[in-house]
């Protein structure tokens, strides 16, 4: 149970105020099919940005266009994954306002479930919860020009031709861009003040989510791998800096598809230096990391899952209770504006 190695940076229970405990996950995300990441509507090019290729020497002066997997594109499917299981184990709560089951983005967060406590919600029913999972835009290692493909879409009618029964030509002829399979994104995910079970839940969501981006039901297969876990009292370098430093280590020439083992070795070489960063107290070794992932898989296994999710749900119980009615007449309460809130 190497999760105990992280105990100095884990919360023992959910608390309402931040306490300076950071856990950083270094994630390698690899596309396994054609994938689409856009910030504008369909027909727009893939989301990309001009950035410095690397941090040192010539690489620092070279500007390349990299693909971007935005932070919102990562967290949305990952929290959906967790919610599927909360729903299946009947751990989503009903929203008192309209009696509907907790749902994302429909103005009806239940404010009670694991997802609401961990990933947060905006003031729907009069409350708000900040997310304790801080994601970052992730960048491709290689330039966009190397890893984006073009596809011509021609919508064929049921007759199997480009003309309908009346002989009208299909207008659905289009070219669209896609990200090739085998493209690597490096990513830094920061967790703030999470408990051991919350950590297991979040890592599970990252490891088991397999579809990202537009038209997620048909394309967008992606595999996530955790390369490193750190505990610290501050934030560690950004995804962008991680990609740039890894690019420096990899050397040239680089070609798509990259050798994944070389890439992992290079990334691990970069993050090995992070243990000297100010504020870092823990870096899991290879073996500890493997143990942590086994621990996560065990808790998410069919036999343990129900138990695990219920234990996690239970951990917020004291925050679900309504504070006892305040003495209205005489003032034991601290003043006019005491909020209805239960603290441990």
């Amino acid at each position: 149970m190497s999760i105990s190695k992280l105990s100095s940076v884990l919360a023992t229970s959910y608390e309402n105020f931040p306490k300076g405990r950071f856990i950083t996950l270094v994630v390698l995300r690899t596309t396994h099919s054609e994938t689409i990441f856009r910030t504008e509507g369909s027909g727009e090019p893939m989301c990309s940005e001009f950035v410095q290729a690397g941090l040192e020497g010539e690489n620092q002066k070279t500007i390349i266009q990299r693909l971007v997997m935005t932070k919102r594109k990562q967290v949305a499917p990952e929290r959906r994954y967790g919610r599927e299981h909360l729903r299946a184990h009947e751990l989503l709560y009903t929203n008192p306002k309209d009696g509907s089951l907790c749902s994302l983005n429909t103005n009806a967060p239940c404010e009670m479930c694991v997802d609401c406590f961990l990933y947060g919600f905006a003031a729907g029913g009069g409350g708000a919860q900040k997310s304790r999972i801080w994601t970052e835009d992730a960048f491709s290692i290689l330039p966009a020009s190397d890893v984006v493909g073009d596809r011509t879409i021609n919508a064929i009618y049921e007759t199997g031709t480009m003309r309908d029964e009346k002989g009208n030509a299909s207008t659905a002829l289009n070219t669209s861009e896609y990200i090739k399979p085998g493209v690597h994104f490096l990513d830094v995910v920061t967790l703030k003040d999470v408990t051991a079970d919350e950590l297991r839940y979040i890592i599970g969501n990252i490891l088991f989510t397999s579809r990202y981006g537009a038209v997620s039901s048909r394309v967008g297969r992606m595999e996530n791998e955790i390369l490193g876990v750190f505990g610290s009292i501050t934030e560690l370098p950004s995804s962008l800096e991680l990609v740039q430093a890894t690019y420096d280590v990899l050397g040239k020439p680089l070609e798509h598809p990259l050798n994944i083992n070389q890439l992992i070795t290079a990334s691990k070489q970069v993050i090995a230096n992070w243990k000297n960063k100010r504020g870092v107290s823990v870096q899991l070794s290879e073996e500890e990391l493997a143990n942590l992932l086994t621990d996560v898989e065990t808790n998410w296994s069919p036999d343990e899952r129900d138990n695990f999710l219920k234990r996690l749900t239970q951990s917020y119980e004291s925050f679900r209770q309504v504070a006892p009615e305040k003495n209205k007449g005489k003032g034991k309460s601290k003043g006019k504006n005491t909020p209805v809130e239960v603290e441990i």
Binding site: E15, N16, F17, P18, G20, T39, E40, G41, E49, V51, K71, R72, A76, R80, R83, E84, D98, S100, S103, L104, N105, T106, N107, G120, A122, A123, G124, G126, G127, A128, Q129, K130, S131, R132, W134, E136, D137, D193, T234, E235, L236, P237, S238, L240, E241, K277, R278, G279, F319, N337, T338, P339, V340, E341
Partner: protein, 252 residues
């Protein structure tokens, strides 16, 4: 105003590693970030004060800047961050999606109750199709990645290397460029080159001319020409006696 509460100040550069979004203004379905970073936001982001993870009841209706900031005001003050060069922006579309298999985009609302669809088609309005009271689709104007801002941090404080800013907790690198003593300049007429928070100005100064950037929670003032005492930090001159919520507290 004869004593200076701060011996020194740090000139700090903020480097946007990600696009930064604050809801400074709203026009139709577009939400605009102004090219400035407020000093209250920076104080929270730097970890000088904590705000709770969960807000409930009354706490959601009213921010607690005064309660949070005044206790630390004796040994910490930070100016709003002003851009280095021209700020560049980017637009992004946002689109809320539900977690149901079936959904429809209705009056600014993602409807998910499929069983209400026949009713809706008959021209009736089931409640699950009524407009939402918070935006579910629209456009965001964000401060583009790679923009740089500068600010002054008064007091002897260690600063983190990275902070998170804005609605999407965007990562920003904190580079301390220089450290200067704070010197007091006698009453006179000065021009301030740095952005200032209108609520933090001391009562004693006389503002002669300025430009105003109107953003919540307090307007930002730039190009201030004023008469009064001043602090000099390196090349920068600001009114003496800047203090969190200084204008308000003096009114009481």
């Amino acid at each position: 105003m004869s004593t200076i509460p701060f011996q020194q100040a740090k000139l700090v550069e903020l480097y946007c590693l990600e696009p930064v979004f604050f809801a400074s203004r709203e026009l139709s379905d577009t939400y605009y970030t102004e090219g400035v970073i407020g000093n209250y936001a920076l104080t929270y982001a730097l970890g000088r004060v904590n705000s709770p993870y969960r807000l409930q009841g009354q706490a959601t209706g009213r921010p607690t800047y005064k309660e949070d900031l005044q206790p630390i005001a004796q040994d910490f003050y930070i100016l709003p961050a002003s851009p280095v060069g021209r700020v560049t922006f980017r637009f992004e579309r946002f689109n809320a999606l539900s977690d149901s298999y079936w959904y429809a985009m209705t009056n600014n609302r993602v409807a998910t109750a499929r069983e209400d669809l026949p009713l809706q088609r008959q021209g009736k309005k089931p409640s699950s199709f009524r407009p939402s009271n918070f935006p579910q689709t629209g456009r965001l104007r964000m401060i583009e990645r790679r923009n740089k801002f500068q600010t002054l941090v008064f007091g002897n404080n260690q600063l983190p290397n990275y902070i998170r800013l804005g609605k999407f907790m965007s990562k920003v690198r904190v580079n301390v460029l220089n450290e200067f003593p704070v010197t007091l300049l006698a009453e006179g007429e000065y021009q301030s080159q740095h952005y200032l928070n209108a609520a933090d100005l001391p009562q004693q100064i006389e503002a002669l001319a300025f430009d105003l950037i109107s953003i919540p929670p307090a307007p930002i003032i730039k190009n201030l020409r004023f008469r009064g005492a001043a602090w000099q930090v390196g090349e920068i001159i600001v009114p003496a006696g800047l203090h969190f919520c200084g204008r308000e507290s003096n009114n009481e």
